[in-house]
Every structure is written in structure tokens, then in C-alpha cells.
Symmetry: C2
Subunit: 319 residues, 2 copies
Amino acid sequence: VAASGLAVGVDVGGTKLASALVSSDGTIIDRRRDDTPADDPDAVVDLVADVVTAFAARHGIARMPVGLGAPGAVDATGTVRYAPNVAFANYPLRERLEERLSGPVVVDNDGNIAAWAEFVRGAGRDARDAMVMLTVGTGVGGGLVLGGALTRGAHGYAAEFGHLIVAEGGPPCPCGNRGCLEAVASGTAIGRRAEERRSAGDLPEDSLLWRPGRLSGKDVTVAAFEGDAAAAEVIAEAGFWLGVGIASLVNALDPELVVVGGGAMQAGDLLLDPARAACKERVMGARFRAVPTVQRALLADDAGVIGGALLALDLAGAG
Amino acid sequence: VAASGLAVGVDVGGTKLASALVSSDGTIIDRRRDDTPADDPDAVVDLVADVVTAFAARHGIARMPVGLGAPGAVDATGTVRYAPNVAFANYPLRERLEERLSGPVVVDNDGNIAAWAEFVRGAGRDARDAMVMLTVGTGVGGGLVLGGALTRGAHGYAAEFGHLIVAEGGPPCPCGNRGCLEAVASGTAIGRRAEERRSAGDLPEDSLLWRPGRLSGKDVTVAAFEGDAAAAEVIAEAGFWLGVGIASLVNALDPELVVVGGGAMQAGDLLLDPARAACKERVMGARFRAVPTVQRALLADDAGVIGGALLALDLAGAG
């Protein structure tokens, strides 16, 4: 572990860049939030360098490891090959950051980093070996812990659980395919499905979903909590598909538990209970073993900054 | 590695028990084949003890590690929790074998063992880190190598790739669910689909599939090689679903390659080409990375005995 036992975790979102100074037990000491300069990768590097420098100055630390989660495909060298919401294209983010910072830098996919935080300090903290995490928001991301370590696959692209094909031939996915888990279970999918039902006139007369304009997953969730039955149905349908995908992951990976986080978890058990039911029916071997539990993530929006910092501390300690 | 550098690999099938004396480079020195006493687990133990004793006597070896692949769910202690075709039910196979044999014993799922053989000595021998294997026969099994090692999950039940849900609500699977990969892409599924087309009259007048009686996957394969278009279509349909499942596995696990073995591979590229096409269309990130190749297994029926022996030698060497 680095001298101070502190690290900076950075969570680069499509609109916001969250950062925090974190201790080795996962406690957030200080935090800040900036707008992401999403169309300029070099400006992202400048901003992260400023953030780290500011934390270091304010807390009198000379040198800290930095762990950054990026949305998209991050290869084993910390190059962001592609990101859906930030203008990274084969951008060597880790290398650029190391040129600007004095400490070691870790760059990883944001789903991996959130999973690591949940495994070490969140919903998976009692697990020893294997955890599957899904992050359900605008899209569906994931992270995979096997043998007590993050599993990144051969090139760093593992755990793209949003692109399990659960409904072959189904709704289009931003990735270009159809029927991906992301296309039927993300917040975006929830909003789109509600709009479809509205267009088809397939809503009760008093449904809150009749209101004009686009419907987001959040709109549908708010309506469901206000008692709108159609909104709850749309969320339950997304939850069903989530459970189908989770069952496939349990059969393929045999985790101790499955953790679900992300913005769509504002729907809570309206989403998770149908997922749990669909999963339980489909997990193989329920006759001879316990089906892993499907649990809510505990760290919410902080998983990214905590996971980034913990990963950076681990690698700094090992290196 | 044990003194002799030799081990016995045993592949317990539903009808045949194959065994071989294998050297540390995967060469088969001697082999035999017996009927599996499938309704009596203790008789399986007796038979394996006889086989090992006979190999040891014939080759003048005092003590050898033994690696055994069992069809079904094998937990981390080598207990067979459940097997579809042999009467193992919570049967402590490894413990019973160790009571009878002088060397160390490894018991694992047959899909894991075949995958290990292909990774070390077969189609994956040039891979370093990550390989997905599917065994397509009566059912669909699997094995998973990550970080250069077999990945068994938290309890030993990982890699049940036959129970990825690819066609939710589709044909029934022996596991009790519907739409599992095994229900649409196994040899059994190929035979059943051909029978369905026959029952529905959905075959050309001159199709070889009109013949009465049950149709196996092998029957359909033979007909396809004799130029029967409907038979080739049925195999291609299974291959399509296989490719859908493989795409999900690539997105979830990022392997260097995917290996397909098992009896249904007698259909060769009639099965694999449609699988490759369906996979390629559905793998995420084809714009920034190479899609892993989908290759035939190389060790055919010997994967079980070779993998069992190699795994036993590894563990004996490590222990």
C-alpha cells in the first residue's frame, strides 16, 4: 500500500466526472464532482490531473495512486478502445495520465470497478470467491469476480453482460444487435417499452404514462411508485428479462451471489423481485444446491470512486 | 509431477467407461474401454480400481495419480451431487476412490476435463489465458479456462453452458426449463427438430428424413452428408442457436478462442459455419477488436482421458 494509505478514485461518466479521496478501508475522505468534457479526451486528462493535484494539496499528500473507471471498452494496457458516451477512441488514457501524475494509475471499465467495490466493501463483502454484478442504468454493464479477483478476459473486454442475448430477434440494442439484455432490461428499454404501450393505446385510461413526450426509465419508475399498474408491469417485464440473463450467468459462472446496481435500481424490488423469480425458475440444479441470492448493490453512486481507489491501492501495494 | 510422469485418465460416460494411461505430454500409452455399471456407483468405483491396478501391473508402476471425469454436477470435494445418466446422487466419488487407490485422485465434471485437455494439448494449445469450450452431444456441456486455469465457480458448477437460455419460452430442456442451449442445439435437439418437421409434413418429397422411427442427431447428420437439404437445414438451425450462445459467452468472458467438441461435431462445418456466422454478427465490439475464432476440438473422444490424466498430474505435482 502506498505510503499515505489513500488513493483517488475517479468515475468518468458521460456527463459528470465524480472523484474522491478514499482510504484503504473504502471510506471517502473528500469528494468532488465536475462536468465531463466528453468531446475532448485530452481535456479529461487535464481535469483528472487537476483533481488529483487539488486533493493532494488540500490533504498534504505528495504522491497517490489513482484508479479511474471509464465507460466503454478498456484493454489490458488501459487504452480506451471505444466508449459510447465519451470521445475516447483508442485513447491511451492510462499512459496519458501517468505522464501527468506522479503515482501509479489504474484504468478499467466502470462496470469492473463498481463490481470490485461491491465485492470488497459492498453487497459482496462476505463472499470469498465469485460474484456477478450487473449495473442497470441507461445501458447494462457488468463486472465479474472469480477466484477472489476481477476477471477481465483475454483482452479486458469480459463482463459485457448487457450484451448477453436473451431475446434473440427482439428490440434493437445500441450495440447494433437485437435482443441483448440491455435492449430489454435497461432504464432506456423501460422508457421505450412504456412509449410503445402508449403508442399502441395499451394503457389503462387513468395511467400516468399517457402524458406526452419521451418517457425515461425514471419517469416509469416514478409512475409505478405512484401506483400506476401499467408502469409497474413495464418494470416487471424488464425485471423478468434481467432474471433470464442472471440465470444464464449463474449457470455459466456459479457465483456466490449476484449484485444489481445502477440507476434503474431506483425501482428497487419492482425490478428485482420479478428478476429473482425468473432466475430461480431457470437456474440449473435447484434440486441439489441453493440458488445464489440476487441482491441490491450497497454503494450506489459511490461504487465507482471507491472501487477505483481500492483497485489503485491494491495494485500500488502489489507493484 | 509423480515419479513415473504417468497418470490414469478415466472418462465415465452413461454407457462406456473409457480409461487410458497417459504421459505428461498427453500421449496415450495404453487404453481400455469397459461398460459403465451406470446403476451402481460402488461398482463404478470397483471398476476404476481394477482398471488402475491393471494398468499399474502391466506397466510396472507402483503408484499413479488418477483423474476422472464424471457427467454431472461435481462439487469442490469431488462429490457427484447429481448426474443425468449415472446413478450418482451426492456420491463422494473422490473419497471412495482414494480409499481404494494409493495415488492422489481428481474428480471433476467431464466438460471441465475435456476443456483442460483441449487447452493444454488440443485446439487451445496456443492460447495463454482464456478459452471457452462447448461439448455438443446428447446434451451440451462446457468447460471454462480463465487466467490459464480451469474455472469452476464458487461450488464447482460453473460452465454449464448448455443451460444458457438462448430461446426463452422455446423447446423443453431435460433440466426442466425451456429454451436452454441444450434444448435447441444438442444432438438430441437436432433429432427432435427433424421429427417435428416430419410430423408437420414440412419436408421435401424426396427427403431421407421421411423414414419411420426415431431420428437421432446422427441420423440427421448422415442424411445431410448424403445431400438431404432438409437435414442440412435442421443442423444449420442448431448451429445458429449455438452461435447465439457462443456470442453471449464471448461478450461475457472475452476468451481467446471458442472450441466446440462432442458427438454432434460429426456434422462438422454444417453445424459450425452457421454458428460462426451467428456469433460474428452478435459479438460486441467487432468494430474495435477481432472476434475470437470458433474452432473444432482436436482430441475427439480422447479429450476426457487425456484431460483427466493431465489434471491429475498437475495436482499431484502441485501437492
